[in-house]
């Protein structure tokens, strides 16, 4: 047994230190390469566009995912929470409710999704992966049933409240609201995970569940709270999404699912002990977004873009996970 341990740790630690900067290095390489190849890449307009259109919502969903990953699970229903949040929000707006109240409905839809997950995971002891997979399937049906098979719901132009445009397109101090929300949620989640007792408990459950149980942590309650929080955060992305396009588009949230998983796990390479962490997740989202945007600007057609994104992400992963596995 000790032989195994020695072999696993054979590589010296400095390698691990270099590996920690795999994603930042990849991001810098991507930025340098694309600004050389595409003149329009490193302009204020383009960077802002990427941050608002490609990063903001994906980052919020990825923050939600990071919470679940930090607790040792995966939340495959983040996209469902986005969609149900969006559906409740747009339905309320369409019914003439004020934006604030509609937002509350959207958030409640997300919390409802989270409570369902919490019931399955904490009460029925179903593993998070399967529980949220079930929620995802049920959410898919729910959306088909409420939209007659997947038709978008638009807010009639004459019913769009002014506040909706502010929420979807407004800015404070020149920074779009969506990015403020990323900042607030990101800092909040970071502080929650790293600076509070609850956050440490979440990470304890995620890293060593056995130890957490024997230390007397209320593991069920912690898991329940994590999945409610994850869905609530994802629903915020849904509300923002529909405020941006004045519509609810069925299954739109699922587009964020795989990227958010990728970002949350790729981000673990940033932490010394390979733990999920918010800065790593956000860097992952930013990397994905700029790769996609860069390939678009250098004129790759849509089909090759996806291949290129895949190859670049693969290379980043190879860089980020080269060397010893501290957390094997």
């Amino acid at each position: 047994m000790s032989l195994v341990t020695v072999e696993r740790r054979r590589l010296a630690l400095p390698a691990a230190e270099i590996v920690r900067f795999g994603i930042p290095i990849a991001l810098v390489l991507v930025l340098v390469a694309f600004s050389a190849a595409a003149p329009g890449f490193l302009t204020v307009a383009n960077v802002t566009g990427v941050l608002v259109n490609n990063v903001a919502l994906a980052a919020i969903v990825a923050i939600a995912m990071t919470l679940a990953v930090a607790a040792g699970g995966t939340d495959l229903s983040v996209g469902t929470a986005v969609d149900l949040g969006s559906l409740a929000f747009i339905t309320a707006i369409g019914a003439g409710q004020p934006v604030a109240l509609a937002g509350l409905y959207g958030l409640l839809a997300g919390i409802g999704t989270g409570l369902f997950n919490a019931l399955l995971i904490a009460r029925l002891s179903i593993t998070p992966f399967l529980a949220t997979l079930g929620t995802l399937f049920i959410g898919h049906s729910l959306q088909q049933l409420t939209t007659d098979g997947g038709n978008p719901v638009y807010v009639p132009a004459d019913r769009i409240p002014a506040a909706l445009a502010v929420l979807g397109h407004g800015a404070v101090l020149g920074v779009p609201l969506a990015l403020w929300l990323v900042l607030i949620l990101g800092v909040g989640a970071r502080l929650l995970l790293e600076r509070t007792r609850f956050g440490r408990e979440v990470l304890a459950v995620g890293t060593q569940v056995e130890v957490a149980i024997h230390s007397g942590l209320p593991v069920r309650r912690i898991l329940a709270l994590v999945y409610v929080a994850s869905a609530a955060v994802a629903a915020l992305a849904g509300i923002l999404l529909s405020a941006h396009v004045n519509a609810y588009v069925p299954y739109a949230g699922n587009a964020y699912l795989l990227d958010s998983i990728g970002a949350a796990f790729i981000g673990t390479s940033l932490s010394r002990n390979r733990r999920p962490n918010i800065p790593g997740t956000i860097l992952g989202v930013v990397l994905f977004a700029f790769v996609t945007n860069g390939l678009l600007l250098v004129g790759w057609n849509f089909y090759w873009q996806q291949v290129g994104t895949g190859v670049l992400i693969f290379s980043t992963l190879a860089l980020a996970f080269a060397g010893p596995r501290l957390h094997a």
Partner: protein, 350 residues
């Protein structure tokens, strides 16, 4: 005990796959060797039988040979992919994050189908098309194996990246259109064999039988399970963990290639959107776990899960239940089966 061994301690009790150790340490620790283990999966079987009985009672044609054959054929692509994933789960362990998983399977199947249909349209013969489809699958499996074992990328991430690459290459080949395909092989595969059962149904059964036989009748099965569930014991016994895991990714890739051919035969074309298969494949393989007595991934379990999902879709169509309900009811049933299994595991411990 060194910390790394502690970490891997979770993998040493196979039956934790479905019951969350966090929720109930006693049930978790007591799992695996229980005398009531059989009862746990009996609950899942019962639920399946009840559902099938309801279908049969409402629509007599449900149990006709023609319809059963149709279910087999409709389940063939999902089933072959699920069986491929099962091999990876057996050899890599069922921990979704640290264990084995192959998310690229759905993409591999789409890319292989596109390669087959593309070559077919270019005038190539069946042999070349089959070689291209299976070769594509093997190549993706090789990339996954290298990524996971040499580059040490966690399987979840490595195969997520290869899935994106496959989906992209599929788009490059198909340009997001449907590529029709016609050939003697496609015609034969898409046709009906003995007993009114489609050839694709036989293909699924043949794949499952081959895999089950090679895992049951040779040392391959116990060794692969050992590598997945007790890597340290396997290593101590002199097994090359890397070689078994690499083999599982290659086999999984190959199953993706085979599923690609099957889907071309089923649809007479290669259609895009294969990535939509990803979650159903994962669901099938994990659902299959509840059909095994020790709650581990098995070939018969996955076959049964694929056929169950297939008969649900088929049954709902016969009952004229709106297809909008299918996903939700499937999801709810998965949760019910898994939840019932988890609950009886808890009761067993108490």
């Amino acid at each position: 005990m060194p910390p790394s061994a502690m970490d891997r301690g979770f993998e040493t009790v196979p039956s934790i796959a479905l019951t969350d150790p966090a929720a109930d340490p006693d049930a978790w620790l007591a799992g695996g060797a229980g005398t009531l283990a059989g009862l746990r999966s009996a609950g899942s079987f019962l639920l399946v039988l009840v559902v099938l009985a309801v279908f049969a009672a409402r629509v007599p044609a449900f149990l006709g040979t023609a319809n059963l054959g149709l279910i087999l054929a409709q389940s063939s692509v999902l089933g072959i992919l699920g069986l491929g994933l099962t091999l990876v789960l057996i050899t890599g362990g069922t921990d979704v994050v640290a264990g084995g998983i192959d998310l690229s399977l759905a993409g591999t199947h789409g890319l292989s189908a596109a390669a087959f249909a593309g070559l077919n349209q270019a005038g190539a013969g069946d042999a070349a098309c089959v070689a291209a489809a299976l070769g594509t699958g093997l190549a993706v499996g090789l990339v996954n194996a290298i990524a996971v074992l040499r580059l040490r990328i966690p399987p979840l991430l490595a195969t997520l990246a290869t899935m994106n690459i496959c989906a992209g290459l599929e788009l490059v080949i198909t340009e997001n259109t449907t590529i029709p395909a016609a050939s003697p092989l496609i015609e034969w595969l898409g046709g009906t064999g003995p007993l009114d059962v489609p050839v694709l149904g036989y293909l699924l059964l043949a794949v499952a039988l081959t895999l089950a036989a090679s895992l049951r009748l040779t040392a391959l099965g116990p060794r692969a399970s050992a590598v997945g569930a007790h890597p340290e014991a396997a290593r101590a016994a002199g097994l090359s963990i890397g070689r078994y895991r690499a083999g599982s990714y290659l086999a999984s890739g190959l199953s993706g290639g085979l599923a690609g051919i099957a889907s071309v035969a089923f649809l007479n074309s290669a259609t895009g959107g294969s990535a939509d298969m990803l979650l159903p494949v994962v669901a099938t393989a994990f659902l299959g776990v509840v059909f095994s007595r020790r709650l581990v991934p098995t070939v018969p379990g996955t076959l049964l899960a694929a056929l169950f999902v297939g008969s649900l879709t088929n049954g709902f169509q016969l009952l004229h239940v709106s297809t909008y309900w299918v996903n939700g009811i499937e999801g709810a049933l998965i949760l019910a089966v898994v939840g019932a299994t988890a609950a009886s595991a808890k009761g067993h411990a108490a």
